[in-house]
């Protein structure tokens, strides 16, 4: 069996942080790019609080069998509790992205750690902490180079309700800029 190219991505945070939507949007974007994507969710019963986690398995050229990641190549943690809980699911040499609004220091010494205050940026620059997820996706485009920010914005535009469109697109830009400014491109 020949191995195709494969990325395992985890995004985790608290309920209410838009983790599932982020995963969904990211998945849709990557499918548009032509990749195979499996996107799975874990969440607690609570609408707010509790765990929330998106797993994405992205393969190029071959349909994936796995649903849950085995160990993430790319990990995004939006809250410290979940980082601690899910750290074991991340490869040591993974790219780990943290929302520094809620995370002071990483649980582990991953080889590549990027801290950006997504929630703070959302709050300050978009006046809406709920779109921290979109800020994150904007940055992710820069950091991973897996997809173009334009394609991402296309997907968001068609997926969210009209009244929410602008604020989301704005948030993506904020994230994109922030990452660019940090020289992560």
């Amino acid at each position: 069996m020949e191995k195709a190219r494969k990325y395992q991505i985890i995004i985790a945070g608290r309920g209410g942080q838009g983790i599932l939507l982020a995963g969904h949007i990211l998945g849709k974007t990557l499918v548009k790019k032509g990749y195979y994507v499996v996107h799975s969710e874990t969440y607690s019963a609570e609408t707010r609080g509790g765990d929330s986690r998106s797993d994405l398995i992205v393969t190029i050229g071959e349909e994936p069998d796995l649903i849950r990641i085995r160990k993430a190549d790319i990990a995004v943690f939006m809250f410290d509790e979940q980082m601690e809980r899910y750290a074991k699911w991340v490869k040591d040499d993974a790219t780990v992205i943290l929302d520094s609004t809620y995370i002071d220091k990483p649980t582990k010494n991953w080889s590549k750690i990027i801290s950006i205050p997504f929630s703070k940026l959302a709050e300050e620059k978009v006046r809406n902490r709920r779109v921290a997820n979109m800020v994150m996706l904007g940055s992710l485009s820069v950091i991973t180079g897996l997809f173009e920010v334009g394609l991402l914005k296309e997907v968001v535009a068609e997926s969210v309700k009209p009244e929410w469109r602008d604020v989301n697109l704005k948030a993506i830009d904020v994230g994109f800029e922030a990452a660019k400014e940090m020289g992560l491109g």
Binding site: F79, Y102, S119
Partner: protein, 78 residues
């Protein structure tokens, strides 16, 4: 005169207390608790009339009013 006591870890920044206070002496604080919520603050506890409306509407058992000779805003860190 009254102390305004807030259990910081319980506050969820819902703003209910702030909104109902007839004296408008409560506001969103600048400190977050460990869950990231900005805890309610009162810059002017001495103006409190002890109506307890703020206490009644707090869904989180996070804020209460108690008689006091030296009116103080007390943030309980726990």
């Amino acid at each position: 005169m009254f102390d305004i006591v807030v259990i910081g870890e319980r506050c969820k920044e819902c703003g209910m207390c702030i909104n109902v206070c007839p004296k408008k002496i409560l506001e969103r604080g600048e400190k977050t608790n460990s869950r990231g919520f900005y805890v309610t603050y009162s810059p002017k506890p001495e103006e409190c009339v002890g109506c307890r409306l703020c206490e009644y509407v707090c869904p989180d058992f996070a804020l209460f009013i108690r008689p006091s000779s030296s009116p103080t805003y007390i943030l309980v860190q726990r």
